[in-house]
C-alpha cells in the first residue's frame, strides 16, 4: 500500500470550503440550541401541564431516537409538503436535537438553584419573572456550562452526519473529489485530522470557560 496525498492538496479549496460550512453550521446550531434550550427549559418548568407536557414529550423524543432518523424525517417528510432547502433542514434538525439535550440540562440546573436564591430576590422586591430572569436563569446557565460545552463538542462532530442529506460540509464536499481521484483513505483521514484539531481547540475553550464560570457559582 502506498499513500498519495496530492489529490487532497489539489482539492484543498473544496475541502476548505467544507470546513467553512462546518464551522458556520456549528456556530448557528450552538446559538440556536443554547438559547432555545434555555427558553424551552423555563417554559417546561414554569407553565401549566397543557403547555409543558408536549414540550417534555418532544425533549424525550429527540433524546431517545437517532439524529439521522430525525433528519430523514425532516428532510424527506417535511420536504413532501413544503419545499425547504437542505441547509435549513440540517441546521433546524441538528438545532432541535441539541436544543432537547440542552433543555434537559437546563431543567436540572434550574432545579438545582436553591430556594434561598429565589427568596432573597423576592425579599428585595423582585417579582417572579424578574427573579427568573436576573437570578435563577443566569445561575443555572453558569452551572450548566460544563455539560453544555460538552454537548457542543459532540454536536460539532455530528455535523458530519448532515452530509447524508446533502449539506456541503467537509464529508460531502470531498465526496466528488473522492469519486474522481479514488483516494477515500487520504481524504477521510484528512477530514478526521481537521475534526480532531477543531475538537482540541474546543476542549481548550471548554477548560477556559469552566475556569471563568467556576467562581460565579
Amino acid at each position: 500500500m502506498e499513500f498519495d496525498f496530492s489529490p487532497v492538496i489539489d482539492y484543498w479549496p473544496t475541502l476548505l470550503q467544507g470546513v467553512g460550512v462546518t464551522l458556520l453550521i456549528g456556530v448557528a446550531v450552538a446559538v440556536f440550541s443554547v438559547i432555545g434550550g434555555q427558553i424551552v427549559a423555563v417554559i417546561t418548568l414554569y407553565t401549566r401541564k397543557v403547555v409543558n407536557w408536549p414540550l417534555r414529550f418532544f425533549i424525550w423524543l429527540f433524546m431517545t431516537t437517532p439524529l439521522l432518523l430525525q433528519l430523514y424525517f425532516l428532510y424527506f417528510g417535511i420536504g413532501e409538503w413544503i419545499l425547504i432547502p437542505a441547509i435549513v433542514v440540517g441546521v433546524l434538525g441538528l438545532g432541535f436535537h441539541y436544543m432537547a439535550y440542552n433543555a434537559d440540562i437546563f431543567i436540572a440546573t434550574i432545579k438545582s438553584v436553591s430556594s434561598g436564591q429565589y427568596e432573597a430576590s423576592r425579599s428585595l422586591g423582585f417579582g417572579h419573572l424578574r427573579t427568573l430572569l436576573y437570578i435563577i436563569v443566569p445561575q443555572a446557565f453558569y452551572r450548566a456550562l460544563p455539560q453544555l460545552s460538552n454537548n457542543m463538542i459532540i454536536m460539532v462532530k455530528d455535523i458530519s452526519v448532515l452530509s447524508a442529506i446533502g449539506i456541503g460540509e467537509m464529508v460531502y464536499a470531498s465526496q466528488y473529489a473522492i469519486s474522481v481521484t479514488f483516494r477515500p483513505f487520504e481524504f477521510y483521514i484528512t477530514i478526521a485530522a481537521i475534526y480532531y484539531l477543531i475538537n482540541l481547540m474546543m476542549e481548550a475553550g471548554q477548560t477556559w470557560i469552566e475556569r471563568r464560570a467556576a467562581y460565579r457559582s
Binding site: T64, F73, K157, V161, F185
Partner: protein, 218 residues
Amino acid sequence: MDINLMIDITPLLVEAAWVTVDISARALFFGFFIASALVALRTSRIPPVRWLARAYISVVRGTPYFVQLLLIFYGGPAIGLRLDPFTCGVVVGAFNIGAYMSEAMRGAIESVDSGQNEASRSLGFGRLATLQHIIMPQAAPLMIRSIGVLAIILVKNSSLVSIISVVELTYQAQRLIGSTYKPLEVFMLSALMYIVIIYAVMGIVEFLYRRATRYTFL
C-alpha cells in the same frame, strides 16, 4: 393516519430493528474487551505504552464516529482492510465505544477511595488481586451505569451504518419513507422501535445495577 400501512410495514421494521440490536450488542461486547485492554495499557509501567493508549483514546473521542466509519469502510481497502458493511459496523462501533468506555471504567475505578487500595495492599494483596477483589466490586455499580449510557449511544450511533448500506432500522425507515410517501407513519413506527430498544437497555442496566449494589451500601 394510515393504520393498514403501519401494520404492513411492521414486520420489515422489526426485522431491521433486530439488525440494529445485533450490531449494537456485538459492538458492545467487543468494545468491553477493547476498553479493558485500554484501561490496562493506560496504567502500564512503560511510559510509551501509556502515551499510545492515551493518544488512541483522544483521537477516537476527538473525531466523528461517522468519519471513522467512512474511513474504515471506503478507505480500509487502501490499507488492506476489506470488511463487509455489517462487520465494518461492528468493528468501528467496538473500537469507537471502547475508547469512551475505557474512560468510564477508569472514572469508576478512580471513584473508589484510595484508602481501599492502601488497606488491601497492606494486607499483602497484589495489584491485580486488589483490583479484582477490592476495587472492582466497589466500582461496579458506577461502571454499570456509565456503560449503560454508552450502550444507548451505541444504539443511536448504529443508525449511521445505514450510510454504508447495512439494512438496519434507519436504512429501512428511509427506504420506506421513499417508497410509501408516508413519512409520519414510518417515522413513528421506527422511533417507537428505537425507544423500545433503548428502554430495554435501560431495564437491563437497572437490573445489573441492583445486583451490583445488593451487598454494598451506596
